[in-house]
Each structure stands twice: as C-alpha cells, then as structure tokens.
Symmetry: C2
Subunit: 219 residues, 2 copies
DNA sequence: AGCCGCTTGTGAACGCAGGAACAAAGTCCC
DNA sequence: GGGACTTTGTTCCTGCGTTCACAAGCGGCT
C-alpha cells in the first residue's frame, strides 16, 4: 500500500532542491504563503512544471491560496533526506577539493564533511576548513567509523577509479565525481559526474554557433 | 549553402567535449585509429549513441576500419570552437573562484583566464595562478580590451545578477554561473548554471531512496 | 447562502533524447 | 577478382521530460 509511486524523476529531484532553497529564503523573509507562479519565477522554471514536480509528493498546497512556505519547506526537507546531516568524505585536497571543503553551501544544507583525504604527504596534516587532511590509508577506517554515505572525488583522473573502488568497498553508497573520467561502480552505488571543462566547452560552442562568421578575432 | 544542419543538440555537444578529451589522450598514447565501440567505452556512453553524435558532423570515419584519431580530434576541436584560446574573465575570487582560476583543466583545453575580479579590497592585488586580482571597477575595461567572450561567476548569490548584467553589457556572450540563483540575461547571451549543492542533494535523495527505512512519514 | 475569482492538481499532446536493429561501404584474405 | 567480415551511418521505435490547457476545490465577497 503505497499511495504515491516511489519513483521521482531525477530532473524533478534536482528542481525540488532548488525549490527548497527558495522556500528557505522566503521563510527567512517572513513569507507565509506562495503561489506556484511566484515560486516558479524565483526558481527560474515554468509554473506548470513546478506544480507537476510538487504533485509527486502528493497534495501539499491549498487551492485558491497557494503553498504554505514552512510546511512545504519541511516536506521537501524530508523527501530530499536532508533533515539530518549526512556525513561526507572528500578525497583529493587540491585547489578544487579545498574549495569544496570550505564551501558554505554544503554545511548549511544538510551535509557535513567528516573526512578529508589526500595521497600527498605534503598535504597531510594541513587544516582545511575545520578539518585536518588525513592520509589515504585511513579512508576505510573513517568511513566505517563515521558511517559516511557520500564520497566526493576531486583527485587526478588517474587515481579516480581506484578511489571509487575503495569508497564503494568501504560502504559509501553515493559518489560525486569531479574527475574527468567515467567511473564504474558496483550495483547499489550511485555516481554523479560534474565536469567543469565540459561546461565551458558547451558554452564556447553555443557562443560560436551564434556568430558563425569570424568569432575568434582576438588579435 | 550549408550541407549539414547547424543544429546540434546540447546533450550531444557535451558528449563531443568528452570524446575530444578521450581522443587527445589516445593521440598522446600513439593510437592512430579507434572503433566506435572502444571510444564509447572510454567515454562511458553507448556505441550507437556515439556514432549518432558524430553523424552530426557528417561522415568522419572509415567503414570497416574506424575513426582516425588525429583527424577526428581536429574535427571536434574545430566544431567546438576551442581551436584558438578563448579569453575568459572570472568574477568572485573566493575559495571556488581561486580553485577555478588555478584549474589546469581549463588552460589546457582552449580557455585562458585574462582577468580575475573581486569586490573585496582585501583580495585585490593578490596573485592567483599567474594573474593578479583586480578591482571590480576594471571589469568593463578588461573585457573590452581583451575581447573576452566568456564570463564565470563565483560570487555570492546577492550580487550575481548585477555582475551578470555588467558582463553582458560589456560584451560577454557566454556566462557560467556557480551562484545558486537563476540569472536573467539579455537575448544573445547564453547562461549555464552549475549548482554544486543541488548535485549533492540529488545524490542524497538517491541514496535515501535506495534504503527507504524511516522516510519522513508526515501524516 | 450563493457567486465569483483565484489557485492547485491532473490529463493529454508535443518534442526530444536514448537505444536497438538494419543497410551501406570499405578492407582484408583467398 | 570475388567473397566475407568488420565497422560505420542511418532509421525506426520506445520512453521520458516538458508544455499547454482544462477541471476541481477553496476562500472571500455580496
């Protein structure tokens, strides 16, 4: 007996996270109710699409009035599973890794880094944010001890697969990969990839496509 | 006279960038030809999809043999518009901005940062990578002088729209936005968004969905 | 109490991306 | 020179995501 189907499209989940952020802002501003139109505008999406996204959670609005800001925020918090802080480990403390470890957007949104790891002896022992960088050898122990369920990989491409394997073997079930290689993970482990240079290249293509005549005139 | 339709789907363009990276690696390794199956495996996609992606560029392989690594790489380089280095400016030199300015993956792939900007006087004058952080006032002058066509925003959310407006007014045609707000840009300016906390939240949801013990039963 | 306007939630149509199967073409071997 | 194998390029089909448009429900006003 499950009145609502458990399957929520990934694209919808991504937008729910955006709605949650907007709702938090609105709640801080003292707003009590919002209409789908206003919320959609603040989130940068279509109002009808927003309502369809929310319909996956069952009815959570009042017709003729709109959505209760606090209630909807709490509902989204529960559905997205960010009610209790989730323990994350980060492997590869280079420039990008350090930035992520210090990124306020994570800590304030239900995620807590409980371990930073690097292979370079020069980095081990350094403090980044409020954590100390540890040797890669301790990875499995820390994952087990903290019950970390999320791993972030910001290592060079060559070692990303090895790190992925170790994370998966240690019990991590979700991996966010910034290394520019496709990772193979065992069943039961989700991998998401963020490729920053690809984003730039898509942007470059779109800009070039727009002006097909003599665009690279940087001289 | 345009033998091939100019419309290439965005999803395809993103994958073309991945193929280009793999091809570069293969070329460095001395490979001369590759089959679609091998290339697809290295890129983490379906072979049929890869061939379909490449078909947007017209025939560029030899049946019975495969693709010429060097030729295909050059073709992709041309299509993606990364043949000549593109000038980029980066606004918001916090942790993330510093990491991006230093990220080797950009410089080696046809992108060159020509200006780093921040509003905080404490950061102005600091060296990041091989550039000096400049005052935000100089943004327009630098964009004009260098002909930068790409802007990257890593500022706090509150000022992202203002920066976006100034970039667009100065002549930047493509913007990569890391701030967690939807940006409105005039026609002719492309905006792509990368939201790191959303990626983590999607991951958290998928991990939670896999183990539905004690979901938020708010009833 | 009844009506009206506003907003949500849902159903259907459209377009797009992804995957699989098939035909064309070139090469290697006999 | 001919046949067969390999690999590309294309075509069809299925499924998903998005959008538009309508019906249902609730509050407020008369």
């Amino acid at each position: 007996m499950q009145p609502r189907p458990r399957t929520i499209p990934e694209a919808t989940v991504a937008r729910l996270a955006v709605y949650l952020r907007v709702l938090t802002t609105l709640a801080d501003g003292g707003r009590s109710t919002v209409s789908s139109g206003e919320l959609a505008s603040a989130a940068g999406v279509n109002p009808a699409g927003l309502r369809k996204d929310l319909s996956h959670l069952g009815p959570c609005g009042v017709r003729g009035v709109g959505y209760d800001v606090g209630a909807l925020r709490d509902r989204l918090t529960g559905v997205l599973g960010v009610g209790s802080a989730r323990a994350c480990v980060l492997v590869g403390i280079g420039n990008l890794g350090s930035a992520l470890a210090d990124y306020a957007g994570f800590g304030t949104r239900g995620f807590e880094f409980v371990g930073l790891f690097d292979a370079s002896p020069a980095r081990i022992g350094q403090r980044v944010g409020d954590l100390e960088v540890r040797a890669l050898d301790e990875l499995e122990d820390v994952v087990t001890a903290t019950g970390a369920s999320i791993g972030v990989i910001t290592t060079p491409a060559e070692v990303a697969q090895t790190v992925c394997d170790r994370l998966a073997a240690a019990g991590v079930r979700s991996i966010l990969n910034f290394a520019p290689v496709p990772l193979a993970a065992p069943a039961g482990v989700d991998v998401r990839k963020v490729d920053l240079s690809v984003e730039l290249q898509v942007l470059a293509f779109l800009g070039q496509q727009r002006v097909p005549a003599g665009v690279g005139e940087s001289a």
